[in-house]
């Protein structure tokens, strides 16, 4: 790799031990991918910013970087915490976990990080520009930034995103280079079938299996598609596949036309797929492992819900009351929760018996937490939640949009 003078100085330790360790780590990553140079990044987003996902090693590394005097060179935000730091006691988390979370969050704050505990930093003001190089971890945020915002990031792991935040650099390879951003396969969608975010997520789950790590191009999606529908589409693509970027012709910034999205390369019939009612039904059934009758916990908002989604949930839940022995969580960032409180949405949610749970999600919660609290079966409107709740909390999941199973989990008042 070639280095600028400043990068040489970072390697020589002129900017301190934390920057030196970080840039060494990024050089190693760059050499693995044959990068020739670094690019400057505008921001970083850190996954594993909690004691459970980071484990003992990650927790120690984050603290060590803070102790060595590391300071973020660019705005750096954090992914969900292991608990809701506002309501952890009533939710049944231990004081010990709260302290552990606090020590990780404090170390990140000491380095100048914005501790926001959300997988949707782009909903609370962390919005990179078109073509801006960034270094984000959290697969659903990566795919949103690349595809919907037109920013450029690879699917970073937690340590490399931390190192990029501390140095303001990332190796130039993968999605940072325009030639790697073209679509390689095409999915022709019957857009009239897609009624809400969950249908878009089903499409994403279907697409991710086919695309694996390639960039898919979607055609047939209406221009009226909402940002949270695109968010659900991307999160699901990154769940069933390792997709980091997608294009929607006529909708996303790098796809004004199919030709531009594919880099004017012809996509052959073996790389062209259709998404019709048959694929929608089959995919939805394959994600859903149980019927809605067994549910004792409903989890909505994966990735964390936007204010428009909260409004949609209010509409479905209005004049209803959550049944005894059932809980409904709507996962949000704390800023969106405050927003919902300010405009009266939080009260309306509470009046149904549902809860806005902020700053967390089941994946960074301690394994076995659900079972210890008696949650044995989950329903969700997101395939990503269905995957992570079942793998990290070992509970079976029902999958579908809330309006389809609302009668099972609530009663009319």
């Amino acid at each position: 790799m070639r280095f600028t003078k400043k990068e040489e100085e970072m390697l020589d330790g002129k900017y301190g031990a934390a920057v030196q360790k970080s840039i060494e780590l990024l050089v190693a990553v760059g050499e693995c991918y044959s990068a020739e140079r670094f690019v400057e990044v505008g921001s970083a987003h850190l996954s594993c910013a909690n004691p459970v996902s980071a484990g003992k090693g990650g927790t120690r590394f984050i603290k060590e970087m803070a102790e060595k005097g590391g300071k973020f060179a660019v705005p750096t935000t954090t992914n969900p915490a292991s608990l809701d730091p506002w309501t952890w006691r009533e939710m049944g988390f231990s004081e010990r976990l709260y302290r552990e979370q606090l020590s990780v969050s404090n170390a990140i704050a000491e380095m100048g990080g914005f501790v926001c505990n959300t997988c949707t930093p782009y909903l609370i003001g962390h919005v990179p520009r078109v073509r801006e190089n960034i270094s984000w971890s959290e697969s659903s945020a990566v795919i949103y930034a690349n595809s919907v915002l037109g920013s450029r990031t690879n699917r970073e792991g937690a340590p490399s995103a931390l190192a990029a935040g501390l140095t303001g650099r990332t190796p130039a390879y993968g999605y940072h280079l325009a030639e790697n951003r073209h679509g390689k396969l095409k999915i022709i969608v019957n857009g009239t079938l897609l009624k809400g975010a969950t249908d878009y997520a089903t499409l994403g789950y279907f697409g991710g299996k086919i695309a694996q790590d390639r960039v898919p191009i979607f055609t047939g999606i209406p221009q009226s598609v909402s940002l949270h529908e695109l968010k659900y589409l991307g999160a699901a693509l990154a769940t069933s596949g390792t997709v980091g970027l997608f294009h929607v012709v006529g909708v996303t910034p790098e796809a004004p036309t199919e030709g531009i999205a594919s880099g004017h390369k012809k996509i052959g019939s073996s790389d062209t797929f259709e998404f019709t009612l048959k694929e929608l039904k089959e995919t939805e059934e394959s994600i859903s492992k149980i019927g809605p009758e067994e549910i004792d916990l409903v989890i909505l908002g994966c990735p964390h819900a936007s204010i428009e989604q909260i409004k949609e949930y209010i509409e479905v839940l209005s004049e209803r009351r959550v049944k005894d022995k059932v809980e409904i969580w709507i996962l949000v960032s704390n800023m969106i929760k405050k927003y919902a409180e300010n405009i009266g949405y939080a009260k309306r949610i509470e009046s149904t018996g549902a809860k806005l749970v902020s700053d967390t999600c089941p994946s960074p919660m301690p394994g076995g937490f659900f079972k210890s609290r008696g949650y044995r079966a989950v329903a969700t409107d997101s395939p990503k939640m269905a995957y992570y709740a079942s793998t990290t909390q070992d509970v079976p999941c029902h999958y579908g949009s809330l309006d389809k199973f609302v009668d099972v989990v609530t009663k009319r008042i």
């Binding site: 190693a28 003992k56 090693g57 792991g157």
Partner: protein, 139 residues
């Protein structure tokens, strides 16, 4: 005693020496190695039950989730890490973990290390110079 010199490419700086532990199959540090003991726990792995601690660990490439980097670092914190790592080709998960844990690491050896180095051989790694010296136990 014959000494064989192998040239390669530095991934993580430093020097180390010790006994070789050779695996012809990839290793996953997340789930595959117990970070408290250093013992390889992946079922059916050719080194299952052996410890990577204080060894010169030679394997083709890492596999598995990015969480593996933090696990290699955890091994180092627990003094159960290998003294050095030699891969045919470094993958970012292992490379990042080695840098984090200050474990000397090399890749792209000019000759096939599996032909030259056997488990138990004495190996010196000088990642800074890109040189590995191996002395066969049997000869």
């Amino acid at each position: 005693m014959t000494e064989i010199i192998l040239k390669g490419h530095k991934v993580a700086k430093g020097k180390a020496q010790g006994e070789a532990l050779v695996s012809k199959s990839p290793i996953s540090f997340l789930g595959g190695v117990n970070s408290d003991t250093g013992i390889i726990v992946e079922q059916g792995h050719e080194l299952e039950g052996m410890s990577v601690a204080d060894k010169i660990l030679i394997f083709p490439i890492g596999k598995g989730s990015t969480g593996g980097s933090y696990k290699i670092y955890e091994l180092a914190c627990n003094n159960k890490a290998p003294r050095a790592i030699i891969n045919l080709r470094a993958d970012p998960v292992v490379a990042v973990g080695a840098i984090m844990g200050s474990i000397p690491m090399m890749d792209k050896p000019e000759q096939d290390p599996f032909e030259i180095i056997k488990t138990g051989d004495f190996v010196e790694v000088d990642a800074d110079q890109g040189i590995v010296r191996a002395r066969s136990k049997s000869s």
